[in-house]
Symmetry: C2
C-alpha cells in the first residue's frame, strides 16, 4: 500500500453550517423563553394555550435557523437514544448482511439508528458487546445467529435464537417444515442414500436443523447413516469448510446420491469437492443448499436450496423490537415468531441415478 497526497482544486464546497443553533439562542432571537419554544416545537399539549400566531413565529424561526435539538441533551433527559444495537457473527457474511438489510429497512424508517458489532464467534465479545451497547444506552438489541442467554434491562429480539429467555423474542424459521420440504423433495426424486453436512456448533441453527432433519427422515422412513453425516469445522464462513466436510464424506467410501448442505456457502464448496472426485452434479449427486443467498441462483448449475426469507426476518425483528420498546411490559416469558421457508428447485437436484424412484 502506498500513500500519496495530491492537491487539486476542491470540486465543490457545500460546507455544512459549523455552528448549530441551540434552543436557548433560538429563544433569545424570539424574545421568548426556551421552555415555550421547546413546548411548541415538540407539539406538547401544554402548548395548547399558545396562540397560533406565536407558534407560527417559533416554527418559522426554527426553520430559518435550521434548529436541530441536540441529540445528547435530549437523550440524556429522556433516557432514550433512538438507537438499537445489532450483534452479528460477521458483517460480511451473506446471512448477517441480508438480515441487517431488513433490520435497517424498518429501523431508519422509524427514525432509529443502529450500531453494529460482530463477535466473530469469540465468546468474550459475545459477552462484551451487549454490555457496551447498554453502556451507550441502546433502546434495544437484535442478536443475529448468536447464542443468547442473557436477560437484559432492554428488549432483545434474536434472529435464529432458540433459547427461551425472559425478555427475549426469537424470530425463527419453521425448521420442521424446512427439513420436511427438502427431504421430501430428495425422497421423491428417488434418493435413499443422502449425505448431510451439519453446521458448526456455534451456529445457532445447527441443533434445531439437525433435530428436524432426523425427525423428517424418520417420518419418511429414511435411515440416516452416521458415515454420511459430516460437519463444518472452523469459524470462517468460506466455502472451503464445505469442501473439507465433503471430502470427509467422500473418504468414508460409502456411496450417496444426494447431499443436503448446511447452507449455500458450504454447498458451493461441496460441489467443488464432488467435481474433483469426478462426480457430476446433479447426475451423480444431487445437492441441496440452505438460505438462498443471492449468488445461489447464479451458481453453475444454479443451486437448489431452501430459502430463508432473511431480509423479512430482519424486518420482523426490527418491528418486534420497536413494538416492545414502545409498549414495555408484557415481555414476560419471551415469545417466538415463525417465518416460512420455501424450497427453490433449480438445477443441482435431479432423479436419483440408481432408479430407486421407480420401485
Amino acid at each position: 500500500m502506498t500513500t500519496k497526497k495530491r492537491a487539486k482544486g476542491a470540486l465543490q464546497t457545500v460546507r455544512m453550517g459549523p455552528k448549530p443553533v441551540s434552543l436557548k439562542q433560538l429563544a433569545e432571537r424570539l424574545s421568548l423563553s426556551p421552555a415555550t419554544v421547546s413546548l411548541v416545537i415538540n407539539r406538547s399539549p401544554v402548548a395548547d394555550s399558545i396562540p397560533q400566531e406565536t407558534k407560527d413565529r417559533i416554527l418559522a424561526a426554527a426553520r430559518k435557523y435550521k434548529y436541530r435539538p441536540n441529540f445528547f441533551a435530549r437523550s440524556l433527559r429522556a433516557q432514550r437514544s433512538f438507537t438499537i444495537g445489532v450483534i452479528v457473527p460477521e458483517v460480511s457474511e451473506g446471512y448477517s448482511a441480508s438480515v441487517m438489510s431488513g433490520v435497517e429497512d424498518h429501523l431508519l424508517q422509524e427514525g432509529y439508528f443502529y450500531f453494529v458489532a460482530s463477535h466473530r464467534h469469540r465468546a468474550d465479545l459475545i459477552d462484551e458487546y451487549p454490555r457496551l451497547f447498554l453502556e451507550r444506552s441502546v433502546d434495544g438489541l437484535i442478536a443475529v445467529d448468536t447464542p443468547w442467554t442473557l436477560s437484559l434491562s432492554v428488549p432483545v429480539v434474536t434472529v435464529s435464537g432458540h433459547n427461551q429467555v425472559k425478555g427475549v423474542t426469537n424470530i425463527v424459521l419453521d425448521h420442521v417444515r424446512a427439513a420436511e420440504v427438502a427431504l421430501k423433495h430428495l425422497f421423491q426424486l428417488g434418493h435413499r442414500q443422502i449425505a448431510f453436512i451439519k453446521g458448526q456448533e456455534f451456529s445457532s441453527d445447527t441443533q434445531v436443523r439437525w433435530a428436524t432433519i432426523e425427525k423428517a427422515a424418520r417420518q419418511l422412513n429414511l435411515p440416516i447413516s452416521p458415515a454420511l453425516v459430516s460437519q463444518l469445522k472452523g469459524d470462517s464462513s468460506s466455502p472451503q469448510l464445505g469442501y473439507e466436510a465433503t471430502r470427509k464424506l467422500l473418504a468414508s467410501r460409502k456411496p450417496f446420491t444426494a447431499l443436503f448442505a448446511f447452507n449455500d456457502i458450504s454447498a458451493m464448496g461441496a460441489i467443488r469437492a464432488l467435481r474433483e472426485a469426478k462426480l457430476r452434479v446433479p447426475e451423480d449427486v444431487s445437492v441441496v443448499g440452505f438460505d438462498d443467498i443471492q449468488s445461489a441462483a447464479y451458481q453453475n448449475p444454479p443451486l437448489t436450496t431452501v430459502r430463508q426469507p432473511l431480509r423479512e426476518m430482519g424486518r420482523t425483528a426490527a418491528e418486534t423490537l420497536l413494538r416492545r420498546i414502545l409498549r414495555p411490559g408484557g415481555e414476560s416469558l419471551g415469545g417466538e415468531t415463525m417465518v416460512e421457508p420455501k424450497l427453490v428447485i433449480r438445477q443441482t437436484t435431479c432423479q436419483a441415478a440408481n432408479g430407486l424412484s421407480s420401485k
Copy 2:
C-alpha cells in the same frame, strides 16, 4: 409468516442491573464530591494532589458499584460521541460488507462505535443520511462507494470516492495498475477482441475504471470496439444485470474471445449468458471479474479476477478517519491513499482460441 407465542420456562436469567449508579450517588457513598470522584476516575492530572489512599477508595467503590459514566452526559459535555457514521449503497452487497468488516476491525478496537445507513442509490438519502449522522454528532464519516461532494464540519473518508473535496480523504484502488494487469493478462493469452461491461453510472468507480481501461488498451495498442462495450443497467446488485449486459453484447453479433466484467457479480451473470449462447468459458470466451468476492473462488469454473483488498481498504479508512479526528486541522485539501490490486488467475481465462497468441 405465522405468529405464535410459546411459553416455556426461562433458560437462564442473568438480569443485568437495571439501575446503574450515577457519579453523584457514588460520591455520596464515598462522602466525597462528584468533582473529586470524576477527577480521579478520569485520571486527570488535577487529581495529582489527592492521596493514593483516597484514589484507591474511589476506584474500589467504582468497581464495586459497577460505575459506568453515562454516555450521553459525557458526550453532551465533551461534544464528542466516539461514534462514526458509515454510509454505503447497500449493506448486503459483498463489496460494502467487506469494507465494513475492515472498518469495524479498527473502530471497535479503538473504542468507537458506528452507525450504518444504506442509501440504495437514492439521491435524497445520500443527502439526508449525512445530515442525520451529523445531527447525532458523529465524530466523522466514512462513505463507501458513494458519490461525495460535501465538505462537512467533521472529517470524512471515502472508500472509492474520486472527487477532490476539502476535508475529505479518499481511499482508492490503483486503477491504472488494475486495468494494466488485467488487460495485459488477456493480451498475453492472445486475446484481441475483448468485450467490456462497464458499471452503472452511480457506481463511483465506473468512470475511473473505464478511463484506465481505455488508457491501458491504448498502451497495448489494442482497439476497443464500441459494439463490444456494454453497461450494467438498474440499481440492484444481482448477477442478472451482468447477464443482461452480456446478452446485449452477444446480440451485436460481433465476435469476442474475452470479456472483462465490471465486478464478480456481473461476471457471474455474464458466464450464465455465455453458456446459454453455447459458448464455453473459458475455451470460447475468457472472463475476468473484479473485486474477488468470497464466492469468486468457488464459481465453476473458479473466476479469474482483479482483487481489491476491500477489508484492508475499510481498515485504512477507519485508521485515517480516527487519525484526522484526533489531530484536527491539516485537512486542507483532501488527500488520497492508494492500495494495490492483485490479479488472481483462476480458471475462467485461457489462451485465445484463434491462435493469435503465437503470431
